[in-house]
């Protein structure tokens, strides 16, 4: 085609498509497993961070700071090699990859849930308390379900990050999409084709997640914290000074 004779040859990739799709399947499976663990752990950490027990709060914030702060690459090395060297804990690459992503994303999800817990209207806790519900019932039956519902878009966003982050697990030879693309590229001398297809698969995966989140969001719309809604009977404040937008300042505003 061009002078140098480079041709984009998808035929090579098609010949290895089953391997590529299998590897992508592993990426998805790792992401789902990591996300499930991270969601559960993140919720517990968020609840701890918003509790009244100072020691627990400190530990939960430490968890968030550490795992959000450490680079994914470093964390993988630590979980896979570090644990083996220092504590003789040997974990197979794939479980080590899942654990790494779960730890990292539990910190991000904890921050998401913490915001969500704080956004739930105070009146909801008060109503639960006035009904004589236990603190646990107020938290898990009243507050958490509403917080999780309101956080579904943010959780979905995190899920797309986890899926793409699985590519870094190539470092410890987890045979996921990126690692498989690398080795096939080396075998066939066709890196550009394989990495392009890997990229396309990631885009497809992220699109599916985005769509699923939209559907989930629509399903649980009732009960979510939907931004700032003026309570019935209370007029919405249109501007800080109480003026209509575009209305010139009045004398009263000077007071």
């Amino acid at each position: 085609m061009r002078e140098k004779g480079f041709a984009f040859d998808l035929g090579v990739v098609l010949a290895h498509l089953p391997e590529m799709l299998g590897a992508f399947g592993l990426s998805v499976a790792v992401a789902v497993a990591a996300m499930a663990l991270a969601t559960a752990a993140g919720l517990l950490v968020a609840v701890g961070a918003t509790s009244r027990w100072r020691v627990l709060v400190a530990l939960c914030f430490a968890h968030i700071q550490v795992f959000r702060g450490v680079a994914l690459y470093v964390l993988i090395i630590w979980v896979y090699f570090g644990l083996a060297i220092t504590l003789q804990v040997n974990i197979a690459p794939t479980p080590a990859g899942i654990l790494t992503l779960a730890l990292l994303d539990s910190a991000y999800l904890a921050e998401i849930f913490r915001t969500g817990l704080q956004k739930v209207d105070r009146g909801q806790r008060e109503a639960g308390a006035a009904l004589g519900l236990s603190d646990g019932a107020i938290l898990w039956r009243v507050v958490v379900p509403q917080a999780v519902r309101s956080m579904i878009p943010a959780i979905g966003n995190q899920f797309t990050d986890v899926l793409k982050d699985t590519s870094i697990l190539a470092v410890i030879a987890v045979p996921e999409l990126m690692y498989t693309s690398q080795s096939l590229a080396q075998q066939t001398y066709r890196p550009f084709e394989f990495y392009t297809v890997a990229g396309v698969l990631f885009v497809i995966g992220v699109s599916v997640i985005t769509y699923a989140v939209r559907v989930a969001e629509r399903r649980v719309r009732r009960g979510a914290v939907r931004g700032v809604v003026a309570p019935a009977g209370v007029p919405m404040v249109t501007s800080v000074s109480g003026r209509e937008p575009g209305e010139p300042p009045r004398m009263e505003d000077e007071r």
Partner: protein, 261 residues
Amino acid sequence: MTANTPGDDVLVRLRGIRKAFGANVVLDGVDLDVRAGEVLVLLGPSGSGKSTLLRTVNMLTPPDAGTVEFDGEVLVPPASRWPWAYRRQSARLARHRREMGMVFQHFNVFPHMSVLRNITLALRSAQGLSKADAEAVALERLRAVSLAEKASAYPDSLSGGQKQRLAIARALALAPKLMLFDEATSALDPELVKGVLDEMRALAGSGMTMIVVTHEIQFAKEVADRVVFMEHGRIVEEGPAAQFDEPREQRTREFLRALSS
């Protein structure tokens, strides 16, 4: 001025209640007794402390000083530094709260639960009823406020008035000894106020002990056994509803005149 009606039938006894938010003193030493079966209406300009006083009764706002006695027992807000002690204190308060229903200005129904589950939650979780028993009680309560056909609906499909009637049904399902109403009609569109006031009127007629914070003067005169007028965190004047046709205190007269103008 003190509301003293000594006797065994005092259900709520407040003594020396003080509360400040920062430098703002909201309750400045309030003494008040509420007898069983009595309907007490708290009146006063906004910021007078009437809502805060109501909220100290079930410790949603624990007072800085003073005691709240309910049904002969002093209520203690959970404050322990130790989780197990805190749990015990919290459980004890929750037990008392189950005997006091509260209705809020903004309804505070649970938006993520069906109308029926809004009511069965506390019956099952706090009172330990079975699912079938809880649903039977809940349906009966919903029927009483004409919401039975909405049992499986979600609160976002209800009008404000229906939400508030749901909130009343939810509170009554626990068969409380006392009902607290915190401006229950203030957030409602005018045409929906009557339905909620009708429920409250019926409840007052049934002999329920009620403490009602409201701006509905006509309603207050009609159902109240006793009216308490508050300003600046103190009780200014109190007496039978009829007394408020010709209030003794200058401030009360001014307030009522301002309301009716």
